[in-house]
């Protein structure tokens, strides 16, 4: 199993480690609920170095990424980022990514750990076949990635860097330093709280982690693992690749039509997705809540009138709602908000209702001085 540059620290913090996409990662340090609570009320520190970081540079970087991704790269200013998808020619999703524009023709793609090799190969193949003047470098090993998430994340990070961070709006990023360590800080995350992600040279990851923990303790910062991360993202209705998104599901089915820009010109998957928009998808992803006690889990079957109408892609117990919540694909006739169906929880049929995402709504900031801004409705997973 691969380990991140912070592996020794996780062991020292007595994390429970688990295999995730070929990586030995902390699932929890003290407990999933305590870490969840830290992120919702204070701040949590995540090692997300297992994710892939791919640099795309060169004079044709924009047309290349317009061809590769579904969203419109032209709308991304320098030091802004964009949530986007990479599709196959059939419109199936190869990955959901975060695209950072670092210069006119310089981009960093943050891809899922499980898809890193596949995407690197795909980018190289597409570049060769269509002869784009771009260079593709897999920087995953050279860079580490941390996420600081929670209402206190700004205060925590402000200890580290001289630059004023409060003006950094959602999806924006800055290049700065901390103790002479170069940092790329973006206001992005996968939790629904105000939060930041930090990219740094791998050899400095431990130093940055230590500094954050030491200086952030006043704000109640604590390490958080993949267990809390999954719960936090699910309460927001954010996708997890491999669950909601696969090569066999399309953005139209997943309800991610807003990530697909049909007007920008040709891109991989465009024809297939156009057709699906015209004819309508045969299934749709919906958020749902259980109306009785129980916890839906990935793979459970959904019924209406004794007919199978779909399947759960993700489910858990929501600490915010105090009930079972889930995401699942259903036939379009059951996809409207308010529609009722049943989840087969180990041969018990538990009634469920389609709701709107997110399941969790952030509380208004406590003081009138803190701006009531949204950190955006889509994640970097």
């Amino acid at each position: 199993m691969k380990t991140t540059p912070l592996h020794e620290i996780h062991v020292a913090f007595r994390a429970k480690l688990t295999e995730f996409a070929g990586w030995h990662m902390p699932v929890q340090y003290v407990g999933v609920l305590a870490e969840y609570e830290a992120v919702r009320t204070r701040a949590g520190l995540f090692d997300v170095s297992h994710m892939g970081r791919i640099e795309v540079v060169g004079e044709e970087a924009v047309p290349f990424l317009q061809w590769i991704t579904t969203n419109d790269v032209n709308t991304v200013d320098i030091l802004h980022s964009q949530y986007s998808l990479i599709c196959n020619p059939q419109g199936g999703i190869k990955d959901d990514i975060f695209l950072y524009r670092l210069g006119q023709s310089s981009f960093l793609l943050c891809v899922n750990a499980s898809n890193r090799e596949k995407i690197v190969n795909w980018l190289h193949t597409q570049q060769r076949q269509r002869s784009y003047a771009v260079h593709i470098h897999d920087r995953s090993e050279e860079l580490a990635q941390l996420a600081v998430q929670g209402p206190q994340s700004l205060a925590v990070l402000q200890h580290l860097v001289g630059q004023e961070l409060s003006s950094l709006k959602p999806r924006r990023c800055i290049e700065t330093t901390c103790d002479h360590i170069p940092l790329l800080i973006s206001r992005t995350g996968y939790t629904g709280e105000r939060g930041y992600e930090l990219y740094m040279p791998a050899q400095h990851a431990q130093a940055v982690w230590d500094l954050l923990i030491r200086k952030g303790s006043a704000q109640g910062l604590q390490p958080a693992g993949l267990g809390a991360r999954d719960l936090l993202r699910l309460e927001m209705g954010y996708f997890l690749y491999g669950n909601e998104l696969t090569e066999e599901t399309t953005p139209i089915e997943a309800g991610a039509r807003s990530l697909v820009c049909f007007d920008k010109g040709p891109f991989v998957g465009r024809e297939a997705l156009c057709l699906q928009v015209q004819h309508g998808p045969s299934r749709q992803l919906v958020p749902f809540i259980l109306l009785e006690k129980g916890v839906p889990r990935h793979g459970m079957v959904l019924y209406r009138n004794n007919q199978i109408i779909g399947q759960v892609t993700s489910g858990n117990f929501s600490p915010a709602l105090h009930q079972g919540i889930g995401l699942g694909y259903v036939t379009p006739d059951v996809a409207q908000v308010g529609a009722l169906f049943e989840v087969d929880v180990r041969s018990r049929r538990i009634p469920a209702r389609v709701v709107t995402a997110p399941f969790y709504t952030r509380k208004a900031p406590p003081s009138p001085t803190s701006a009531r801004t949204s950190d955006g409705g889509s994640p970097s997973s």
């Binding site: 699932v27 929890q28 407990g31 999933v32 609920l33 305590a34 969840y36 267990g227 719960l231 006690k293 129980g294 916890v295 889990r297 858990n316 117990f317 600490p319 079972g324 180990r346």
Partner: protein, 127 residues
């Protein structure tokens, strides 16, 4: 960490025998492996149960796990406090986190269960 006066099952349940009744719970090892418990599906009072039978389910933030009874008999009491406070399974697995009381059908079954020292060895062999 492992109470001496209890008997243990290979699925990590414990029982405390008092007369003809056995109180049942899950071990500290089990609660630690499960992670934060968010919901428990308790057995029904008056249900007749057989040793090694699944009698309930425990949902944690990580997964769903089955609850087994180490002994046969009739469920005479369940810990309804767990419905509102499932976290007691994590914080006090041998005390307030008890799950059910079973009227023993065959007290000899208890002898087949592990003692504390046997359970300790069993845990060591598992890791």
């Amino acid at each position: 960490m492992i109470p001496q006066d209890l008997r243990y099952h290979k699925e990590h349940e414990w029982i405390r025998v008092e007369g003809q009744q056995a109180t049942l719970g899950i071990s500290d090892f089990a609660q630690d492996a499960l992670g934060d418990v968010v919901y428990i599906d308790l057995p029904k009072v008056e249900a007749a149960v057989t040793a090694n039978q699944e009698i309930g389910e425990i949902e944690s933030t990580k997964a769903t796990s089955s609850l087994y009874t180490p002994v046969s008999g009739t469920v005479v009491k369940v810990n309804t406090e767990l419905q509102d406070h499932p976290e007691l399974l994590n914080t006090d697995p041998y005390g307030r986190g008890w799950i059910a009381v079973i009227e023993l059908a065959d007290p000899k079954e208890v002898e087949a269960l592990m003692t504390a020292s046997e359970y300790e060895q069993f845990l060591a062999s598992q890791s």
